[in-house]
Amino acid sequence: MENLNNWCESLIISVILVLLIELLVENNKNKKYIQVITGIFIMFVTLNPFIELLNNNDFDTDFLKFEKVSAKPYEENELFENVYIDYTLERIKNVLDSYNLNVLDLDFKLDESKENLEKIEVIIKKDMAKESEDFVSEEKVKNLIKEELDITEDVLVITYE
């Protein structure tokens, strides 16, 4: 597509140039010869892509690539949010599964400008038996989640239910 645009641009500019030259060379002795040369010039500009094709032995398929344009459905922000929340929930669950912790839910809160993360609340099921080997401290959970999601500690809040 770009090749076609470039070719047309050069063709049009060359035609306008030839027009200007012809306007300048009125009633000159050499008018006929100048017309011959400008005709050859335009012919070369027209045939330029084909000469390149003949010289290249391998065709590049760049001319088949065009930008994808999709007619957007009329509402997709909510869909993105849900998918993102599900995805982060999966990641946190994968991290905390090895410690036998049951993650119940995840809550995102954005601040007013909808750009920065204000708080992430992770709800974990409370362990009934608090044996010393199974008990995982809150600090450790925070560190794990912090490493996984690459966020700072102050936005993370863990509640036990």
Partner: protein
């Protein structure tokens, strides 16, 4: 029966659809609420909704715009050709040729000012049709599934969705550049008498027309073939289930079968009316762009005819070629519209036919 209709209308999400669809139909139907249109269609009068479209207003406004453009261009042509003829007959130092070029460039400026907004308008209309179809098709598929046509949905939905996305990509990346290139080349080719570049733009126009025609044919053929197969399968499946239910379940079988029939019948009415509203809204979206393009097309042809006695033959040729470019725009718009209208109609007809088996 009325209560059943109203109840189902809410549950199936038709109310939300009508609210959202209002933004598409604002131009043609005015500030009319689509609900009244919907009631009319359910009751069966379609002609009433055509009364609300302001045909005369739209036509008059577009014609007046086009006439202004014609008058402006005619003024330029007459002044410049008279001047050129005088200068040529006086044989003073080729000033006539310069006048000719000035006249040509002024005309080109006017033509380009008219063409580019119309092209953008057309592409915008096509994009609006496609986003409206994006909204209509899920609702239609839900309604079709509720009437029990499972095979129809599974075979027809991919065709509709894929063709919609393909048309969006195709028009925005192929057709628009080709249209612009053909327009620019046809403007340039009439500049110098000796250098002719007409055939390039002719090839581009033919390519656009042929590919759109092939798309339309393939789409329609695919849908009609599928409609033959799927309607009979669905109809037979529905009939056998109904016979099985009424036959095997001892006490309430027959009553259950009849009530399911009533529900499916009313959902069928809703689906038909939603389909008809979709068709009408697509028609309303394309109404104003197509009238605009038709007005400009005719105005350039009239201009070519009117200016033939006094102006140069190259300028007359210019106007004719420009009018052909407008014809291509019209062809694009109409083929997309007809494709989607036919798609919706075939889908509706298929699902209606499958209910004929009862």
């Amino acid at each position: 029966m009325e209560d059943l209709l109203i109840n189902q209308k809410e549950i199936l999400g038709i109310n939300d659809f009508l609210d959202e669809a209002k933004q598409f139909s604002k131009d043609a139907f005015g500030s009319n609420n689509l609900d009244s249109l919907y009631e009319n269609i359910i009751n069966g009068d379609i002609l009433k909704c055509f009364e609300t479209i302001d045909f005369k207003g739209i036509i008059f406004s577009q014609i007046s715009e086009a006439i202004k453009l014609i008058v402006l261009m005619l003024e330029v042509i007459i002044i410049c050709s008279v001047l050129k003829n005088i200068l040529d007959s006086l044989k003073v130092s080729n000033a006539g040729k310069n006048v000719y070029f000035v006249q040509y460039f002024v005309l080109v400026i006017l033509i380009v000012n008219a063409f580019v907004p119309i092209l953008k308008f057309t592409v915008e209309a096509i994009n609006r049709i496609i986003s409206f179809m994006n909204m209509l098709i899920p609702l239609l598929i839900t309604l079709i599934l509720s009437t029990g046509n499972i095979v129809t949905t599974s075979m027809m939905e991919p065709v509709l969705v894929i063709s919609m996305n393909f048309i969006a990509n195709f028009i925005n990346s192929f057709v628009v550049p080709f249209c612009l290139i053909s327009f620019v080349i046809s403007v340039i080719s009439n500049l110098l008498g000796k250098i002719k570049l007409e055939k390039i733009s002719k090839i581009l126009r033919n390519v656009i027309v042929w590919t759109l025609g092939i798309l339309l044919t393939v789409f329609t053929a695919l849908l009609s073939l599928e409609s033959n197969i799927t309607s009979s399968v669905d109809g037979l499946a529905g009939k056998t289930t109904k016979a099985a239910v009424s036959g095997f379940i001892p006490v309430v079988g027959k009553i259950m079968g009849d009530s399911v029939d009533a529900v499916i019948g009313s959902v069928n009415i809703l689906k038909n009316s939603v389909g008809v509203i979709g068709t009408l809204i697509i028609f309303a979206i394309t109404l104003s762009p197509s009238i605009k393009i038709i007005c400009y097309w005719f105005s350039f042809k009239i201009l070519a005819a009117l200016s033939e006695p006094c102006a140069d033959s190259a300028i007359v040729n210019l106007f004719e070629v420009i009018s052909e470019n407008y014809k291509i725009l019209l062809g694009i718009l109409f083929s997309v519209t007809i494709m989607f209208i036919i798609g919706i109609t075939i889908v509706l007809k298929t699902t209606n036919m499958s209910l004929m088996y009862r």
